[in-house]
Symmetry: C2
Subunit: 165 residues, 2 copies
């Protein structure tokens, strides 16, 4: 499967596309969609929508994954994030791509083996799991790759469970 992971953010939305059989993963592409902070919010949502559509057309993912929205820290930023998340879910639905949703805890547990892992640990594990000989520079891109790896891993587990029944 080819999974597009998206790490939503009003300023920077990270994306990562991996090819995976659920055990071994390889990186197809990753990057960050940046928006212009001076632009009206609706305009920034449009920039994110266009960026994601471009990624979907170029890399043809067969599955999508995003993090569940988290609101403990600051309700205002969680609400802003939820707008962007709506755009990401829409971009996937428009392309007919089903989406998996995972909490930050489950993503870190799956990728790092520890639910409270630091961002830098996620970056390191992503590099190691994908056998990259360079660092994933952007933490947003690394987080996006992590949610893609999480989805591929869980999808394999679910398929095996289904086959065993």
């Amino acid at each position: 499967m080819r999974v597009l992971g998206i790490d939503c953010g009003a300023e920077r939305t990270g994306y990562g596309v991996i090819a995976s059989d659920g055990l071994a993963h390889s990186l197809v592409a990753s990057g960050v969609i940046r928006t212009r902070p001076a632009d009206p919010f609706a305009q920034r949502l449009l920039q994110i929508a266009r960026g994601l559509r471009e990624v979907i057309i170029r890399y043809e993912p067969t599955a999508g994954a995003v993090e569940e929205v988290f609101h403990a820290a600051n309700v205002q930023s969680a609400l802003k994030l939820a707008h962007v998340r709506g755009i990401a879910l829409l971009a996937l639905a428009e392309a007919g791509i089903a989406v998996g949703e995972y909490s930050a805890l489950v993503i870190k547990q799956t990728v790092v083996g520890y639910g409270r892992a630091e961002k830098s640990q996620v970056q390191l594990m992503v590099k190691s799991l994908l056998q990259l000989d360079y660092d994933v520079q952007s933490p947003d891109a690394a987080d996006a790759i992590a949610v893609a790896i999480c989805h591929a891993t869980h999808a394999r587990a679910a398929a095996r469970l289904g086959a065993a029944r």
Copy 2:
């Protein structure tokens, strides 16, 4: 001006299009976009996006207006609403339509003259301001018309202020 007001909701998104010079308003169209509760959330966002695009193409609004997101009552439903609101802002931005955002307080103050007005009072005032000889059945559609009236009123005030300077 021709204003599209949108009242966002995951289950029912109301819309109202009015023609207005800022003082007198007439109803062009109103209605409700319903989503199927059994569908995945991303699918429901797609249904809302398609519904809004259809309304925009059919009624060609020149301005848009939505309520600011409100989170006092329940954070989970506010977050859900924010996803839908992202879709509404995107639909307007895609069509090149600038959008005004107003708090519930300001909308009710502008339309009813009282910031804590009940839904039924909003429905009555909308009917009266638009000189309708029938009730606006759906409260979602009435709320959408109310935010459109609010925007038209404020846009006129802003234009007059600008001219007086």
